[in-house]
Symmetry: D2
Subunit: 250 residues, 4 copies
């Protein structure tokens, strides 16, 4: 089946995802990020990259589990799962590299990286659940929006990069990803159209898409909440980020 | 590290594996297979291919689980696991094809394929155990001998092929494998030398190699035992193979 | 260690939990439930019991997994896990009984029970994650508040029972639970004090308590959201509840 | 259903198990154990108890996993699983106690206990496999013979106890077990008759019974093989047992 052909269930999926993106991009935080000085504070960005580090440590693993799942009996789809797991492997190291590029030492990540924020942990937990207990097709709902997300967030990233004066090489997670994701987005579309066989399958995909994108929105809010603790000098497990605080103006 | 360089632990592994191969190849069954009319009986061969079908249905899955394992923190090795899982995916379909090429219908494999023999089930069970609970390096002990096994069994296969008058295309599992396995054997050697860091790691690899090769020998014996039940008209779950019985001589 | 003795970490845990209960109980929905006609609408109650049915189908399972976890090497705690799993087994049948007592047929639960709401699925997913990948102690954070929750919700339940004119026997899940939970609450306290050995252990317990109680609050909100869809005649997977709609007044 | 009532499938199961016990008890090793001086050598006994230590560390865990299994939808049977897991928890500590009673220090079991022998590892692996991937009923085939095994082995144990001059308190694993197992044997019989609903279920139970009892026979042979290495001064991972060697006669 052609990967560019339209399909009413794909339209419905796009619509559901678009509605949540719209919420995210019109959130006051999004505006503040790009329009105020907030975006220049590397602590906020680093907080987010720590979350990326955490979930990226599990992405390849839960992706592979969909292929391991005995309920997945479609050889093509199994191959898709292992191939994409292969391509996602080690992306947490890009996040780590980007954090170190900011000046954080993190010599021993297992010891030095603070725990994920609650929403990040929920995203990780949910993807394991969906990969092992859901319909094999379910996890594609996550891949579907994730592989297309750079279209939505590229303007924000570009704006932040300039505000923080960071080289592209110090934002490797974003820039490496945005290149490969065009091909991936087509792959996901093709496999979705192949594997989804019933309205229940599509409903499962939509559910995963909505839950995981909403969790991503929650991660952003919790990152901001943690940032405010840092900024206001409150207790936080991310105190190691204070060394990235901007110089206080006179 | 070069993949052709010698290493005392590899020598020890080779020796342990060689000793078991020697037992297998000097077993009366091996001689009988190649020297008597036994090898011409397609029921014996089909019994074995059914076992291949069963364990091959799990090979990619348990291989991937080594990459999923949180104790596996070596990105290179994780990639190896997913890449090899990808390459092993669907090989049970070759076994199924070969069984159908013999004239078995097997329309609905989940319904029509008899249960694995006990030793086959033990091999499957052990590989899952090793992949999830052993040291991440352990499963390489299986890959190490499995990827090299065609050197040992090619003469037997060739002899059987001629005795059974089967086209190579009807023995796709063996012939497709023997081609790719040369590259794989080098990959396993390289990753073993990279990932094994302690005598305990090498001992774990040796353990897996020995246990799984000995289980393979047990599979062969159980295949022969089941064959004798078929030949002698006893009850067996593999009665569907009687249609492959050679014509009785006058 | 005595189970009534005070402990600063327990105080901190109580405080964290109390803060979230306070949010829940002062939420406009809580007020509306007990003070308006809303509480009399059995559709709202049934929607919630369906969520109970779903998560209770997994409670014993994920509780047992903490005992299965190889990182759990404390025999006392393992016994606690299996004993509590035993006591939680089959509680989903109480929820099913209560739903049937409302007049829903649900002959074949796997076919007739609608999917859990997203927050319910997240709660289930998170408890599996915590039970298999977290510190073995983590899941106690859930048990700790859950076993005490009847103190907080009893007034609401009592009010709803009277508004809906339901016999106690038709609300078996709540009434059976509130009896056993006093003993359980003491058990959790004792095992917490035994198993928590470091600030990281207590932080893990607090994290689980907070995340799972907040998810419970989200379940309540999503139940209310789904109820409004029902009431306003919108599309919902819970349309089977329309037969419980109160008679429209003239 | 009464637990003493006869059932043709139970008879068939008894027969299959009896045949393997017969092989074990007429094996030359069995005779030698009770009739020669061999039985007096505590190294042989200790080797076996180490295997008990290993598999008993997993018994409760894989038993509980049958209750965790989502394919297990029989509440009675789930309860059986958690209750029996509870009763099996910590039995590895009895084995450890018995090993220490022989004079072995084993301060830090994870460090000081040698690896299980291969057949012991296979038994552990197979029970995990059966508990998670087999029919939920399968694992009962193991419990069925295991709970009755003391009838078969009591004479051997009694003979060994006298030859080794060990107090019953130093053989706690055997003596504690033989007491509780009469009740358990009845429980297994009752649950088997409840849960087995098809010939395939009974075949699965028989398969597990046969495979696990045969693995137990293999454990005995490997224990004897390792013992001979010890006796003859060869390399073995169980060299710590040399301190239990009997005094050499002049």
């Amino acid at each position: 089946m052609s990967t560019t052909e339209s399909h009413p269930e794909l339209d419905r999926l796009d619509e559901a995802i678009g509605a949540i993106w719209n919420q995210i991009l019109t959130h006051p935080l999004a505006k503040e990020l790009t329009q105020s000085g907030l975006g220049a504070d590397r602590r906020l960005y680093a907080l987010y990259i720590f979350q990326v580090y955490h979930y990226a440590s599990h992405t390849a693993r839960n992706q592979a589990l969909v292929g391991v799942n005995l309920a997945n009996v479609d050889t093509q789809y199994q191959k898709y799962c292992f191939e994409h797991a292969l391509e996602e492997t080690g992306h947490e190291l890009m996040a780590l590299h980007d954090l170190r590029a900011l000046g954080l030492s993190l010599e021993e990540p297992r010891r030095d990286v603070p725990r994920p924020l609650p929403a990040t942990e929920l995203l990780i937990a949910y993807l394991y659940f969906v990969s092992t207990q859901g319909r094999p097709v379910s996890r594609l709902g996550y891949s579907y929006w994730a592989e297309r997300s750079y279209d939505f967030i590229r303007p924000v990233i570009t704006s932040l990069q300039s505000k923080m004066s960071l080289a592209s090489g110090s934002m490797s997670f974003f820039f490496a990803h945005s290149k490969v994701d065009e091909k991936h987005a087509d792959d996901v579309r093709a496999i979705l159209l192949r594997v989804c066989k019933s309205p229940e399958d599509w409903a499962a995909v939509r559910r995963t898409a909505e839950v995981t994108l909403q969790l991503t929105a929650q991660i952003l809010e919790q990152v901001y909440g943690e940032y405010k603790k840092l900024r206001d000098g409150h207790d936080t497990e991310y105190a190691l980020l204070q060394k990235l605080a901007p110089p206080t103006e006179p």
